[in-house]
Structures are given as C-alpha cells and as structure tokens.
C-alpha cells in the first residue's frame, strides 16, 4: 500500500528522512525540538533542580500511563486510576501508622506491610474492573467510572479528607525524597516499570495476547486465547501500577492524601493517546507512551518557567492534545493513502 508512494529506492535525502519520520512518528521529533528550544531560550530549564523536578513528576505519570496503555490495548479504558492513587496512598499510610503502633521500631516490617496494603487496594480495584468487564461484559467506561467513585469514597471515608501523617522517616527520606546515584528514586522505579512492560509486550505470550485481544476479540477467542483471564490481568496490572505510583507519590509527599492527583486519569489517557495508542485497541508501545508522558510534563514545566498563568496553561494543554493527535492522524493518513 504505502510502497506506491515511497516504493522505489530512496533517491534523495528528503525522501529518506520522510521514511524515517514515518517509522518513528512525529512524537520524538517534536520532543527533541521542544527540548532544544527550551534549552536555548529558557536558561533555567537545564538547571539540575529543574531537570530533577521534571524527571520526578514524569515518573509518576509514566508508571500510570504504562498501565493505562495496557487497558487501552485490550480495547478498554480505565477512569479509576486517578482514584486508585489516593486510595493506595491513604491505605498504605494508615497501615504504616497502625503497624508502627503495634511493632514500633521494626521499620522494615512496617514499610513492607504498608506497601503490601497499598498494592492490595490497587489489586482490589483492578479485580472489580477486570472481572466486571470480562465476565459481566459491562462497558469499561461505566465500570471504571463506578469504581472511581467507590475508590474515592473509600479513601475519603477512611481519612475524612485529613492527611495521614506518621509514616516511618526512613520510608519518606530514604525512598520518597531520596537520591540514588544523583537521581530521584522514582526515576528508577519508572524505568523498572517501563523495562518490565516493554519486555512483557515484546517477548512474552501475555504481550502478544493482549494485542490479539484488542485487535479482534472474537478471533482471539476462537484461536484459543483465554481472553477473560488476560482481560482481567490487563485491568489488574493497570490498577497495581497506579497503586505503585500512589505509593511513590505518598513517600515523596510524606503523608497519605485522599485528595491528590485529580488530573492523573485524564493525563494518563492523554499521554497514551499522544503516543499513538489506539482507543479502539490492539495498538500501543510503552516506549512511546513514556516519551509522551515526558512531552506533557516538559511542556507543563516550560509554561511554569515562562510564568504562564496556570489557567491559560490548561487551555494550551487542551489545544496541544487535540492538535498532537490531529497531526498524528494526518500523518497516518498520508502514508495510508493509496
């Protein structure tokens, strides 16, 4: 199809560039251009402090977006991630405070228990979502809308909206605000998550099955894929990743918060979509999602540095999301024609 346009051997440099562009898409190009422009015109952008900030805040979004991507690949949707983050935050903090009362001094035990409780809360939400979508065949939009409401309600009910203090110092200073080899710990966590998801997508049966399910559910079922199991797995992974992000965020903030990250759901979907993940399912790569998450946060950071009013910033972000996807769509259409 596309070789009608670019079929013959690349005769000129421009044609070769165009083919390279078609292969990687526009996102890396825009990202590099953005970074270069910012480095040239906004001096503080490359200051160590600022780079840390961007890296750290991107890490949380990268982790959540990777999970969101998995659900989008199977043709689903997860509106509840933004509620799982505060839920995991509150549950882990409360558990740590409780464990600290029961066994004071055993920091390792306290932290482990808190982390496990936080992850379990994510698992619970993921199971509600996954089981409802896979077995009750309810629309993912509504299920996750419902579980979002439930998770938010539980988080608020547990704390009355008051921050939970009293987590072990080692957890907050050592993990949440700590630096390993000069980099915030959240960056390593995000890198680990991306590496694992990348490996899963490229080298495991689960990765291939997820694409197959999203591409054509019927065909996947007929070919003997246990589609229900993998659907549940996708939702559970997504929620657990959201919980992981919530744990890291809690450690950085230093308290369990029932009212963090209202925007994270929409941002994670925006990042995935900018990265070319199809909302119809079957398409999406974690490395691109990572780039898109960086892109979104660098953009926000740049507007902060340029002292653009936060209210105007939201307008810009809205326009950019739409135009980014529009450009991508037009580029795809150009290669698809004939």
């Amino acid at each position: 199809m596309s070789h009608v346009v670019h079929g013959s051997a690349p005769s000129s440099l421009s044609q070769r560039l165009l083919r390279a562009y078609d292969r990687v898409g526009f996102l890396p190009v825009v990202l590099v251009a953005l970074v270069i422009a910012l480095a040239l015109f906004v001096p503080r952008f490359l200051s160590l402090q600022n780079v840390f900030n961007v890296l750290r805040s991107s890490s949380y979004l990268v982790i959540i977006s990777a999970g969101q991507m998995l659900v989008l690949i199977v043709g689903g949707f997860d509106l509840s991630v933004g509620a799982v983050v505060p839920l995991a935050s509150v549950v882990s903090a409360l558990t740590m405070v409780w464990a600290n009362g029961v066994a004071p001094g055993h920091t390792g035990f306290v932290v482990l228990l808190g982390v496990l409780a936080g992850l379990a809360s994510g698992l619970a939400v993921g199971l509600i979502n996954g089981l409802s979508v896979a077995f009750l065949r309810v629309s993912p939009f509504i299920v996750t809308l419902g579980s979002m409401s439930i998770a938010t309600g539980v988080a608020l009910l547990l704390t009355n909206g008051i921050p939970v203090y009293g987590m072990p110092k080692a957890y907050v200073d050592g993990f949440g605000r700590g630096l390993w080899l000069q980099l915030p710990t959240a960056v390593y966590l995000a890198a680990l998550v991306v590496a694992l998801v990348w490996f899963m997508q490229n080298f495991t049966r689960m990765g291939r099955y997820l694409y197959a399910i999203g591409g054509n559910l019927q065909a996947a079922t007929v070919s003997g894929v246990r589609t229900k199991t993998y659907l549940v797995l996708a939702y559970v992974t997504c929620s657990i990743l959201a919980a992981v992000s919530g744990l890291a965020l809690t450690a950085q903030i230093g308290s369990g918060q029932a009212v963090i990250s209202a925007q994270l759901t929409l941002e994670s979907i925006a990042a995935a979509v900018i990265a070319g993940v199809s909302l119809k399912g079957g398409v999406g790569r974690v490395e691109m999602v990572t780039l898109a998450a960086f892109f979104l946060l660098i953009l926000t950071n740049a507007m902060d540095l340029l002292r653009i009013d936060p209210r105007i910033q939201t307008i810009f972000l809205g326009l950019i999301v739409v135009f980014a996807v529009a450009l991508d769509e037009l580029a795809k259409r150009r290669t698809r024609v004939d």
């Binding site: 409802s132 009750l136 065949r137 309810v138 629309s139 939009f141 509504i142 299920v143 809308l145 419902g146 579980s147 979002m148 409401s149 439930i150 938010t152 309600g153 539980v154 608020l156 009910l157 009355n160 019927q218 929409l266 979907i269 925006a270 979509v273 909302l279 009013d309 209210r311 105007i312 910033q313 939201t314 307008i315 810009f316 972000l317 809205g318 326009l319 999301v321 739409v322 996807v325 529009a326 769509e329 037009l330």
Partner: protein, 335 residues
C-alpha cells in the same frame, strides 16, 4: 452486530418469562423498590414537597443527559460538557452584568445573556464536531482537549470567583417565574425539550440518521448519508443543549459559577447510560434519558433523606451505577 440479540427482529414480540418481564422493567422496578424501602425509614420521601423537589432537580440533569445522548447515539461522547457548562454560565453572567451596569433595558440584557451563552455553546460544539467529524479524531481526545480549554477559559474570564448580580428578570424567566400555574419553569422547559427532541430523533431524517451512524457508520456512508455534516450537527446540538441547561442553572443560582459543571460530565453520561442509551451507539431515546435522570436524582435524594454521609454516598453511587448497567446488559441479552 454479531450478538444474537440484535439479529432477532424486534417487531416480533418474544415470549417472555416472568424474569424476562422483570428485566425489561428493571429500572422502573428498581426505582419503585428503592422509594418504598426508603419510605420505611424516611416517610418524607413520598411527600408532595419532596416529589416536586426531585422532579425539579432531575429536570436539569435530564437536559444535560439529553445533550450527552445526542453524541452517544453516534458512538461518541462529550467529556467537555461540564466544563462547557461552567464557561457558558460565566460568559452569560458577565454579558448580563456588564450590560445591566450600563443601564441597558431588561430585554437587551437577557438577550445578551442568551446570545453569549448559546454562542459559547455553539463554539464548543463546532470545535468538537469539526475535529470528530472532519478529521475523524477520537471523540474522547477531542472533548478531553476542549474540556481543558473550557476549564481555562471559564476560570480566566471570571478570575476564578463567581460573577454575582445576574438580573432577577433572567432568574424569573428560567427559574422561578410562572408560565403554567403549579408547574415550575425547569420542568416546563424539560418537557418542551423532551418532546422536541423526541420528534427530532424519531420523525426527521437527521434524527433517524444519527441512529444509523451509531449502528453502523460504514453502512451510513455507503447509503450516501451526509455523515460528517450530521455528526457535526450532533456535536453542536449537544453543546447547545448543554449551554441551555447551563443558562437554567445560572438562573437558579443567580450568579455565573466557574465551578458549576464540576460533576456534570460524569453524571450526564451515567444518567444517559443507566437509562439505556448504549455507549456502542445507535440505541436509546428520550424515554431512556427520562428514567436515567430520574433514577440518579432519586438515588441521591433518598440518600440525603436517610442522612447518608457524602463519602458513603459516593461509594453507593458507584456500586449502583455498575449494578444498573449490569441489569441493562442482562435485559438486552436475556429479554
């Protein structure tokens, strides 16, 4: 499309078991059971005052859910609805208070408020529709974008605080005036909109085409329907209806509120879908929205009367939403 259920001719009445009939009427049944069980604990729920109150409140949600239905029918949805409501509210209030300060006559002030509000609504609808219909971009992304844009616009032009002193005449017109004795204005408007929309959807080419586009976009295209134009019109109609609802809400509060639309996006989608408007497109109607809006309003009203705390309400609302959709699913496959 491959569902056995959708292949069965709907004109032939199938033989239904008792369970089947109960499923068909699952939502009204659920509503009756809910009201009766609440009555046992809080008899006020069935008092005339409370019933009128519920009807009044649900008429707003009805308008927003109708707006949402216009695009859900075409397999889309509108995430920007709540934010657009805020923008419309602020814009119309600013226009009215500005003109009122200059001493313009009431008619001009109200006309300006209507014009500004519906104008903003039309702009949002054109933006959404142009990208969805023209460039075939996923409605989720487009309306996510316009959600952010509207959010920024409403907080910027209002400075983040409410715009007070909306003229009384506007409130009388859309909220507490008397048009038909004993029937409140919001209910009157909701009925007019419902009847008009029912006619539009069932008896005009545009309306029927929306169902075809939602059922099978390819077939609509092959059949030679001007799909793009209709799709654009659906998004504009959605935003205009939402803008009208926003004007009604502005008349009620008497001020332009930058946070007016907070939870409306989710509530409007939930009401439409609970009523039976399918997110897969092509299924639903005004009747479904009536039940959906009533159900959601009744639920929160019942919980208020039972003095259920706000956080628990949120949890129950989530559970009930999932349950209602599940029942809807059963109704469609079994009955």
């Amino acid at each position: 499309m491959t569902d056995a259920a959708s292949l069965a001719p709907s004109d032939v009445a199938p033989r239904r078991s008792l369970l089947g009939w109960m499923l068909v009427f699952s939502l009204p049944l659920l509503m009756i059971v809910m009201e009766l069980s609440v009555y046992a604990f809080a008899p006020r729920v069935l008092s005339l005052r409370n019933v009128v109150n519920v009807l009044n409140q649900s008429s707003y949600l009805f308008v927003f859910a109708c707006a949402q239905m216009m695009v859900i029918l075409t397999r889309g949805f509108d995430l920007s609805l709540g934010a657009a409501v805020s923008s419309v509210s602020v814009a119309s209030a600013l226009a009215m208070t500005g003109l009122a300060k200059l001493g313009a006559p009431d008619a001009v002030v109200v006309a300006a408020g209507l014009g500004a509000g519906l104008g903003v609504g039309a702009l949002v609808g054109l933006f959404n529709g142009a990208f969805v219909a023209g460039l075939e971009i996923n409605p989720f992304v487009v309306t996510l974008g316009s959600l952010n844009i509207c959010l920024g616009v409403s907080t910027t032009i209002s400075g983040g605080s409410p715009v007070f002193n909306v003229p009384d005449v506007f409130s009388r017109l859309f909220y507490n005036g008397v048009l038909i004795p004993e029937v409140s204005i919001p209910i009157t408007i909701a009925i007019i909109i419902g009847v008009a929309l029912h006619f539009l959807l069932n008896h005009t080419t545009f309306g029927r085409s929306l169902y075809i586009i939602g059922n099978n976009p390819r077939a609509a295209l092959v059949a030679g329907l001007p799909s793009r134009r209709y799709l654009l019109t659906a998004y504009v109609a959605c935003s205009l209806l939402a803008a009208f609802g926003a004007l009604m809400l502005t008349a009620r509060t008497g001020s332009g509120e930058p946070n007016l639309g907070g939870s409306l996006m989710m509530e409007s989608i939930a009401a439409a879908v609970i009523g039976g408007v399918s997110l897969q497109g092509g299924v639903g109607g005004v009747g479904a929205v009536v039940f959906g809006a009533l159900f959601v309003t009744m639920l929160s009203n019942s919980m208020d009367l039972l003095e259920v705390g706000g956080y628990v309400q949120q949890i129950l609302l989530g559970c009930v939403t999932i349950l209602a959709i599940f029942l809807d699913r059963l109704r469609r496959t079994r009955a």
